[in-house]
């Protein structure tokens, strides 16, 4: 077999099974870094052996056996230096290896996802850990998506893995009582991958894809593992609604187009269709949550593709619900915008002003909306000041240009 074909076979196995293999290995030893090393060794061994011996009938089982042997060897060496626990685990593992049929091994990715978003692990590292362990992304790619130096990201990931090992964090699915809170952390970490650390998902430059595709993949994985949880469907629906509009966020010249002026014909119908189905299924469970509400808000916007109009009254109601359930600054600003459109600018402005000033000092969408509403209220000097502030807080060139143009063409 040629080297190229072997490489392809190894890559294929890595793409399809990396997360499952790693989750299985890590769940046994609670040592994610050791499991990663062992798995990396197994992939290297495959590159050596497969060209000579051919690609095995069950590549995953081959890789698993190779990786487990490495772990067992490492644990035996560690016996001299450390306590006996790793050795006992290894012994149990070795015994199990004799009895487990090669082709099947349990899917432990759900446990791994809960470990990544465990309360003992720093929040900022939940998402990077998931991307690295479940999807097999390398630290440099993750670092660049979060605009962090690769060395810093590498250190954060290593520290988190040491914590998992040293605190002996259990690889388990939380009991039903703890599940909502623990699942919330997993969902938030996946959503953070979608935004890749950017506040304003809708405004972000569509050319900078970040980790949107990876986040959707994590969402699909979670749904496959936890099909009965409506919030998981809600999150996936939310991400797909946002993805459906990616290409419409810039015009042909690269200029920023706000949601209300986007050409709905450029939205992806298949993605909207899939998101609609997910959201409908979720709502059948009659357990409303933050992500279902956020998805419902996006579904109202998506309906413009069919009806040609935006139902702002429905949006105002949904934002009202979201503010009660999860009063984030984003939700408060969104409600003010929806109320301003549904009723009048003065009511929207009153809601916007009620947000504590400390919370919005560097929150760009607040200032962009303030500029828009003040201009509609004919308070042009204040609108100009707010617009300058919004421009000063922008992370995106196209958005800066758009806001500058608004100063010349008030609503």
């Amino acid at each position: 077999m040629s080297d190229d074909a072997t490489h392809r076979a190894v890559e294929q196995a890595a793409r399809a099974s990396y997360g499952r293999l790693l989750a299985f290995l890590a769940a046994r030893t609670r040592d994610v870094a050791a499991a990663e090393d062992a798995l990396a060794d197994a992939f290297h061994a495959a590159l050596e052996h497969w060209p000579r011996d051919g690609v095995p009938a069950q590549p995953e089982a081959w890789l698993l056996t190779a990786a487990r042997r490495r772990l067992i060897d490492a644990a035996r060496r560690a016996q001299v230096r450390r306590d006996a626990l790793p050795t006992l685990l290894a012994a149990a593992d070795e015994a199990e290896e004799q009895t487990m049929p090669d082709a099947t091994f349990p899917d432990e990715r759900l446990k791994l996802l809960f470990v990544c978003a465990h309360p003992a692990i720093a929040r900022e590292v939940h998402t990077p850990l998931m991307l690295q362990t479940v999807l097999g992304l390398d630290a440099a790619r993750i670092a660049s998506a979060f605009l962090v130096k690769p060395a810093t990201m590498g250190q954060r990931l290593s520290r988190a893995k040491a914590k998992i090992r040293d605190a002996n964090i259990a690889f388990e699915v939380p009991l039903s009582g703890e599940l909502p809170a623990r699942l919330g952390a997993v969902l938030e970490a996946i959503y953070a991958a979608y935004g890749s650390g950017w506040d304003d998902v809708a405004g972000a430059d569509p050319r900078r894809r970040g980790l949107a595709t990876e986040a959707v993949a994590l969402g699909r994985t979670l749904l496959q593992l936890l099909p009965a949880e409506p919030e998981v469907r809600g999150l996936l629906a939310l991400m797909l609604y946002c993805e459906s509009r990616r290409d419409a966020r810039r015009d042909e010249g690269g200029a920023y187009v706000p949601l209300s002026r986007q050409d709905a014909a450029r939205w992806s119908r298949p993605m909207i269709g899939e998101a609609d189905r997910l959201l409908q299924d979720a709502q059948r469970a009659k357990r409303l949550g933050r992500f279902q509400l956020e998805a419902a808000i996006q579904s109202v916007h998506a309906r413009r593709a069919a009806t040609g109009v935006t139902d702002w009254e429905a949006l105002a109601l949904l934002y009202e619900g979201l503010v009660r359930l999860a009063p984030t600054i984003g939700a408060l600003v969104g409600r003010a915008a929806a109320v301003a459109e549904a009723r009048d600018a003065a009511q929207g402005w009153a809601l916007l002003q009620a947000i504590p000033a400390d919370a919005v000092r560097d929150y760009q969408p607040y200032w962009a909306l303030a500029a828009h509403l003040l201009a509609r209220l004919q308070r042009h000097a204040e609108a100009d000041t707010a617009r300058e502030r919004a421009i000063g807080l922008c992370e995106d060139t196209a958005m800066r240009v758009f806001l500058r143009q608004q100063a010349r063409n008030p609503p």
Binding site: E124, L147, V148, R361, D362, E388, R389, I391, G392, L393, C394, E395, T397, R400, R404
Partner: protein, 129 residues
């Protein structure tokens, strides 16, 4: 913690300052950024720097200084200005660095300052004593 946001620019960006029409386009977003820093209460100081060709460089040579025209190296990008900010943590500093208006040919560098000036005073006094 205090951090410095350093703005490096290629010659063609620096040259935009000499053209009145381009100057407005260059300065308006920087002005808005400066105001946002001040309003958020993180601004300490900052300045745009005159063209690199006006620089004087003093280099330690033997037992004294040797003066020469700057910049000393023929690098692609030159220091064009800086903002000194005071923020709670590195993540906030990074968020502000991301907001610094970008143009093709501009690089923004974020550096942590070793310590606050007032914290340096005792150390300086110790050196002088």
């Amino acid at each position: 913690m205090q951090c410095t946001i350093l703005i490096h620019e290629q010659a063609h960006i620096i040259a935009m300052r000499n053209d009145p029409a381009q100057r407005a386009a260059l300065y308006a977003p920087i002005g808005a950024y400066l105001e946002a820093l001040k309003e958020a209460g993180v601004f300490v100081s900052g300045a745009g720097l005159e063209e690199p060709s006006t620089a004087t460089e003093l280099s330690a040579a033997g037992d004294g200084w040797q003066a020469q025209d700057g910049p000393y190296a023929d690098t692609k990008e030159q220091l064009a200005g800086f903002f000194l900010i005071d923020v709670p943590d590195r993540a906030t500093a990074l968020a502000w660095a991301r907001r610094c208006p970008v143009l093709p040919g501009r690089t923004v560098e974020l550096r942590g300052n070793l310590c606050r000036p007032e914290e340096m005073q005792p150390a300086l006094r110790a050196v002088q004593a």
